[in-house]
Amino acid sequence: MIHDYPSICYEVQIKALRFIEGHARLILRCIDGLYKAEFYPTEGPRFIPLALKGKSPLDAPIVTSRICGICFSAHAIASVRAVENAYNYKPNQGVELFRLIVHLLNHIQSNVMHLTLLSIPPLLGYYDNAKFRFSRIYKLGMRIAGKVTLAIERLGKVTFHTPLFTPFAIGLSINGKEVYNAVNELIEPLLRDLDEYVTRILSVEVPIFTRIRPLLSLNTKDYPKYELTDSLVYIDIDGEKSVISQNNILSEMVFKRRDKATGLQVRLRGLDVMVGALPRILIHKDKLHSEAKEKAAMVNWSHNPFLNNYAQAVELVSDTYKLLDILDEIRDYIIEGEEEAPHIEQGIGVCAVEAPRGILVHHVEIRNDKIVNYKVVTPTAINAHSIERDAEELANKLSVLGREKLKSLIEDLVRAYDPCMSCSVSLDAYSI
């Protein structure tokens, strides 16, 4: 339990945060007796949104999926729906189900790889997975990751950046039974491993720490990963709920740059806000798949960012059972897209999805069937200020631990958020 101790002033510099996706820095400075944190990406942007200017919208998903090596489907699905929204096009049910299957497979892959390789080993004292790989958690986790990765490969012929999301589903022609056969035989046998894996993850001790912060998630009837809607739900620090239209979400955001940062941070309504698995569960716990509710009941949920690890584990159960339900449903479909793309003179399309790490927004402006502007706001850019506020709170309470122990605790805190710095620099600090 974290108590209040008198604050001791010193600077903490974590120049290269370990076991996170991408490269970032966190610096804590003591100013007038209180800690101030700066968390920012240090890796270069690859300017993918900029590269899409002047290109065909049909190429947007295959290019934007390369923003991230671990949550490629989230970008692809946000991109494809943003383009389709610009054209006022809605895909048929078979295409939507197929996309959701790939998206859920990627979610499971992302969450299990994050827990197994990145956030859990350091909590258990390992900074070398070549040694951790002999543990039961690692073996179970990588077995699950291996099967899910194989399922993705069976559908798309490649394990990452899978080219299965094309606007208007052009070129897609697949039998639902084939999808069922390719995926079900890999996923169903995993259920026992998954149960043991999640139980083990939920028994890994995490620090107890609470700071109430605003939360943001998709506003959905089902669990927010399982449907796309055109609005988001925002819960403020008093617990008051408000709904934000997907089309207006970017106008509610202010972008800030830390000195030396290669990417920007987001402020929503002037404050920090958290997105990701923990906010999803805090807001929508009752909508989890019934099989996951038993696991969710094992946790005393609160605004403790370290619980994001548990939230990702519980979501693994919900996502897997939901995937099996959708596979049953898709068996009767012949999934076919359009033969040709429609044309528009002008259109703006926005899509917000729940990526593994939280809300991801793609915004596209199209003129005469060419992209004139493209913007991507990622969950890590949204979470950055919340990470800073949590680091400050921890340092203010626990500076008595000393620099090295505090550094270790802060690294665990950042890892719990599952940040993706490669994604976050899509909102780059150069092209503003």
Binding site: E43, G44, P45, V63, G69, Q109, T159, F160, H161, G171
Partner: protein
Amino acid sequence: MPLRVAFYSLSSCMGCLFSIAAHIEDLFNVLGEDGVSIEYYKCFREDSSDEYTPLTDVAFVEGVVVTREDEENLRNIRRRTKYLVALGTCAATGNTAYYAVEELKEKGIPIDAKPLSEIVYVDYEIRGCPAPFNEVVNILVKLSRGWVRIWQPDYTVCRECKLSGVACLLDEGKPCLGPLTMGGCGAPCPNNGVPCIGCRGLAQEAQVESYIKIIREKGITLEVVIGRLKLAMGKHVKELLRKLEETYEHS
């Protein structure tokens, strides 16, 4: 003596490193537990919170060089490894970033995005987005046996489409870059109805003149082709542009 190996990332999506991590047991199975020692691997082994570049036999580096830190890290890695492998299209050709920075440069913003070979000497390249895992294993197995010549496919993506029986997307009037692109990826994009974007870089067998003839027949403009080439082919585009424009003028 185990082969000392490290996996680094610069400015990248980490897709190459994650796709290798997903198959890491296969790596140990092929090379043996005592055959390989992973000295550093971003997101797999990071012992020290200080910046650490161990001495290695083979260093795989993913990502494009954008920041000054990227360049310093790369030079440091080059000094401390026997063989340097550019892992993935970003490292090998610059990928999307290579041309995406043009607009910023025109505005006077001092930014660049370079493949590794424009900064240091690179011993091998594994092109692909992501880099194919079998080519990573191939290089490690060969180097562990002291074989330094590494074969790469000399054929184009077209061969793989033909072998898998996929209907030609160029025939459908789609601007597929398959005839110009190095094969070996299994043509996942054309197999899913998505025209190839050239992420494996220029093929040795690329038939530029024939390609120009086909795109003219199908009504695909050179402007559209060049736009797509700049999405992923990076540094190879300059050479190809020169060939394309010469051929287009003459044909």
